[in-house]
Structure formats: structure tokens, C-alpha cells
Assembly symmetry: C2
Homo-oligomer: 142 residues x 2
DNA sequence: ATCCATGCAAAGCCTTTGCACCCGA
DNA sequence: TCGGGTGCAAAGGCTTTGCATGGAT
């Protein structure tokens, strides 16, 4: 994070990074904890949080500040958008090209210095969609 | 929220709604609490949270699930985007038209049922921009 | 040897919830 | 009246932090 950082690549940090790159499920700290613990049973949750912070500060992973209260992390640092299920809060990558020019829409219209943007599509994942339909059928029958 | 809801407009709910519509600062529950308390000193934080939930469920206000851990609320329910300061977490409305067609980019490309989207521009507000410049000057001088 | 990182546990922040009483429709 | 709403306080979920010890460079 600093100009001259003296970060160490500890085993814990290494494994967290590996596990994060090995999944595409955009896990929260708790899930990362569970995964990493299979390989490093003595690791602590605090270490998970501290490293997620460090790794996202150095740009090795991406912090997805999505809607829900849970912070999620992504081992894929290439710019991309997400789709979030409004019901189960699952997050998947959006199969859409990024829109680099979108930030120009703000040119001369704000006194903020714009450095980036995020797009999140909202909807229902297939499973939740099915559940929602079942429920509405149930309601109409009554 | 339900098909047949029997919601009451209590004084508390009324005042929360009014205060939310009177500001454009996208306040969190704590700030709303402070504002409302000036008019209803005996109101409880729990009531604030419960009503923010009810009001956003009925669509009378908007819950802004922005990056930070704090949930923010917006009395302006017309669709619009936001700009968030990465440093002080302030949120302002983005002076940009909404892009209704953007969701079509996903047509046939996902098995999610898309119902909406959010765009959040990220950057630095003028104040934080100034601070950041001062800091970088300080660092280069060394 | 240095000093960043870890494990553990306590504390913190924001939010939700149980319960008895209250009040709007 | 009566079922939703309120105040209060306790509990909850997730995250951060203090401290002594450990380990990467």
C-alpha cells in the first residue's frame, strides 16, 4: 500500500491467495476461512481478514463491495462486472465487456475526481427464480 | 410488501420519511436517527431501522447498498446512479441519465433473470482530492 | 536481528430481535 | 377493539484490534 512496502509472503498469505484464485464463487471471509483451514488448520479468522485487506490494497485480489452486508473477494482482478441474486445473494461474473467510456458521461458535470466505476446487475439466479415461481403459484391458487 | 398490507402511518414513520426527503446526503441509519430525534426525542434506533426497512420494502424510499459497511438510504426513489468518495465514503447523485438498455447486454448470456442494475462511480470528492494532493506533495518533498 | 505477521480473544460497529406496552385505523 | 408499531435493551453477525509470540528477510 505504501510507496515502499515491505510485505512478506507468508505461508498463510500465499494459501489465501491461492484459494481465492482457485474459486470463482466470490467468497466472503468466512468461506475463505473454511477453505484455507483445510490446508492450514491453525490459521485464525483475524489473519484471514488482515490478509484480505493487504492483498486487496496491493491489488492482488479485488474486494467486491456488493450490496449485502458481507464483503466478498475476487481472485480475478481484471476489470469486470457482477450479477447478484437478490434472494440468495450469490454473486457471479457478468458476461459483458466493460464499458470504459462510461465515466466520460460525467466529464465536466461533477467536481469529484472520477477514478473508476462499478456496475452490478440485479436479478434472480435460476434456483431462486424457480422458488419464486413456486411461491407465486401457491399464492394464486389460494 | 405483502399483497394486502395493512401498514399504519405512525408519527415516527411519517417523520422519518419527511426527514429523508428533506436531505440529499444519503444518510445512514445513525444520521437519520440524529435528525429525527430533534423532532421526536423519544424515538428509538430500533424504530428507525424497522421503518427504513418497511419504507424501502414499500418503495417509498430507496436503500442504497453501497460499498461501505454502512447502509444508506435515499428519499429520492427515481432511478439514478451514485458517485462515492473512496476516502470519506460520501455519496452523491450522479448527474447522468440512466441507461435503461444496459441490461440487454446480458440477453441470452446468463441464466439469471435480470431485474435491474446499479452503477456506482468511484472517485474522490473535492475535499479528499485536496487532502490527497497535500499528502503526495509532502511525500515527494522528502 | 529486525520488525512484519500470526493466533487468540476481546472489543467494535452496525443491525436485528424479544418483549411488554401503546396507539392508529 | 386489535393487530401492527414502539421503546428499551439484549443479542447477533461480521470485522477490527491489542497483545505476546513467531517467522520471513
Amino acid at each position: 500500500m505504501n510507496t515502499e512496502s515491505h510485505l512478506r509472503m507468508t505461508r498463510q498469505r500465499q494459501v489465501i491467495l491461492e484459494e481465492l484464485r482457485r474459486t470463482c464463487s466470490h467468497p466472503g471471509a468466512d468461506e475463505i476461512y473454511a477453505r484455507v483451514r483445510r490446508r492450514l488448520p491453525r490459521i485464525s479468522l483475524g489473519t484471514i481478514y488482515r490478509n484480505l485487506e493487504v492483498l486487496s490494497a496491493t491489488g492482488e485480489i479485488q474486494k467486491i463491495e456488493t450490496g449485502g452486508s458481507l464483503k466478498r473477494f475476487d481472485g480475478n482482478i481484471s476489470p469486470h462486472y457482477h450479477i447478484r441474486c437478490l434472494r440468495c445473494h450469490k454473486v457471479v461474473d457478468a458476461p459483458v465487456e466493460v464499458l470504459p467510456d462510461i465515466e466520460r458521461l460525467l466529464d465536466g458535470k461533477t467536481d469529484f475526481t472520477i477514478t473508476g466505476h462499478r456496475i452490478e446487475f440485479l436479478g434472480l439466479c435460476p434456483k431462486c427464480q424457480a422458488k419464486a415461481e413456486a411461491e407465486s403459484r401457491y399464492l394464486t391458487e389460494m
